[in-house]
Amino acid sequence: MRLRYFVALAIAVIVSAAVVVFALPPAGSGSITGKVTYMGTPPKLKPIDMSKEPSCAKQHATPVTAENVVTGPGNSLEWVVVYISAGERGGGGPSQAARYDQKGCQYVPHVLPLEADQQLQIYNDDQTSHNIHPLAKINQEWNKSQPHGSPPIDTKWEKPEFIPVKCNIHPWMHGYFVVLKTSSYAVTGSDGSFDIKGLPPGKYTVTAWQEQYGTKTQDVTISGSEAKTANFVFTVTPY
């Protein structure tokens, strides 16, 4: 009897320990912040002619341009994904579904970072049909029509990959799914800044990825709950 009680207690202790170790995200209060900027002359962004699709054109008060190299004041670079590419000892895992919208014949956000196996929901908010065509190579490519009023497409990506997305009906629409092995990532805003929080102490490799200029990496070591800075500079070309 006493033995049985002891076994039950032991199991309870082991299970609760396992919950603490595996189910909770790594306790950490370190962070890496920084700014992504460019050197050189960036390309002029092509204006987009949406006159073919009046229902989209009228949603934009100012002319829309391509978003492959979006720059801001102080040579800042927007839509750069900064993420922990090495050094992490298992994250908390994705909690909620990532959302991707087709709105005004543009992808919102232009670049969507998400974790492998994270649920992904793709919405068509427009009055027209889109076909969503992720040109995956490592994952399996697919291509689905989503007419006006269709329910969202529920999907996920199993393997890490930078996946370009396009709509064949509206050839100016270009976006990216950035599928990562980590939940520690950020996308630079219009001021080029990013902020990766919740990092436990450790040695990390931080990678910045820009769709046209590729990746840059830096090693960052965090001890305690340090807030470290990592800035990235991409050399851009006008063409």
């Binding site: 073919k52 009046p54 229902s55 590419s85 090495a86 009055q127 027209t128 049909s129 076909n131 969503i132 065509h133 040109l135 190579k137 490592i138 399996q140 490519e141 697919w142 291509n143 689905k144 029509s145 989503q146 007419p147 269709s150 497409i153 393997k159 890490p160 990959e161 930078f162 064949n168 009906i169 509206h170 050839p171 599928v179 990562l180 092995k181 980590t182 490799t205 990678t207 990496t217």
Partner: protein, 302 residues
């Protein structure tokens, strides 16, 4: 003492293996887009295909591939054989395991039979001929070999073939409903209001390698890329042609609506079909009342 020592060695060994594994995983994460095509792909020695009681062997298929396919599809299976530069559309790149003609949903691998049918049928309006002169056994061997070019064939399951219910009756009502679908689903954006392959987006279309590609022109009356029957036509737009701009409509079109669309699409071809003759007499009687398909109508609807 000896068992203990063994246990310690074993534990250390497994830890070393685990950390090695972690290193490999980390390396993959850093270079996520570097593909090494054959790493993890099925073995040429053992890979098989099964089609209608015939079992194909990749080992035999390899010899046939070197004899019949290598000129276009290349020694690495990537579609860059010595003839490829003269060919448009380009030969299939087997290392990507993306195939147009499937019975399975978009984003899934085709069945062995789908690949077998593709080799047998060839692709009309491309340089891929029919391979009927090869025996069914030889074609099955080639199917098995094609599956040794990509690791996806060992990692992923083949998709479940689309269920195609029996065809609904061919009536003028069905054709008219199909015509509404053609407008509503924006088929005309690429295939054109009259199905001539000249829609507003037609000239901008590219395949997954960025090469220009043309939408099907119904007025030529040629066979479709993936077959010639009404069932084939149903399957084409429901599964989509992966690797091309043609999407899958399986999530947005119900089976009855799909058959309506099939019946309408047949009226766009200059063929002596039941659909075409029904449509011809309808146009003769109601020609003035038929609203044209295209952007103006769409704007009016919205």
């Amino acid at each position: 003492m000896i068992p203990n020592k063994f246990a310690v060695t074993f534990a250390l060994g497994s830890m070393a293996l685990l950390s090695l594994g972690a290193t490999v995983v980390t390396a993959q994460a850093t270079h996520v887009n570097s593909v090494s095509p054959n790493l993890g792909a099925p073995s040429v020695e053992t890979e098989e295909s099964r089609i209608d009681g015939v079992t194909g062997h990749a080992y035999d298929g390899k010899k046939l591939y070197r004899r019949f396919c290598i000129g276009c599809h290349g020694q690495d299976g990537n579609g860059e054989g010595e003839n490829a530069q003269w060919i448009d559309p380009k030969p299939r790149d087997f290392t990507e395991a993306t195939f147009k003609c499937r019975s399975t949903p978009t984003g899934t691998l085709p069945t062995d039979e789908d690949l077998f049918n593709a080799i047998t049928r060839g692709f009309v309006t491309t340089n891929m001929p029919q391979w009927r002169p090869l025996s069914p056994q030889q074609r099955a061997d080639l199917v098995a070999f094609v599956k040794t070019w990509s690791p996806k064939w060992s990692e992923e399951k083949t998709g479940t073939p689309l269920n195609i219910p029996p065809e609904t009756p061919i009536t003028i009502e069905s054709i008219l409903r199909g015509r509404t679908e053609f407008q509503k689903l924006d088929c005309w954006e690429c295939h054109g209001p009259e199905g001539h392959g000249d829609g507003p987006s037609a000239s901008t279309l590219t395949d997954d390698k960025g090469n220009p590609i043309r939408p099907y022109n119904f007025s030529t009356g040629t066979r479709f890329m993936c077959g010639e029957t009404n069932r084939d036509l149903y399957r084409i737009f429901m599964t989509g042609l992966d690797g091309s701009p043609m999407p899958s409509f399986a999530d947005v079109v119900k089976p009855d609506e799909a058959w309506d669309l099939v019946h309408f699409l047949r009226t766009l071809q200059p063929l002596k079909t039941q659909e075409a003759s029904l449509w011809k007499s309808y146009v003769a009687a109601h020609g003035k009342d038929i609203k044209p398909i295209g952007p103006d109508v769409a704007a009016g609807v919205q």
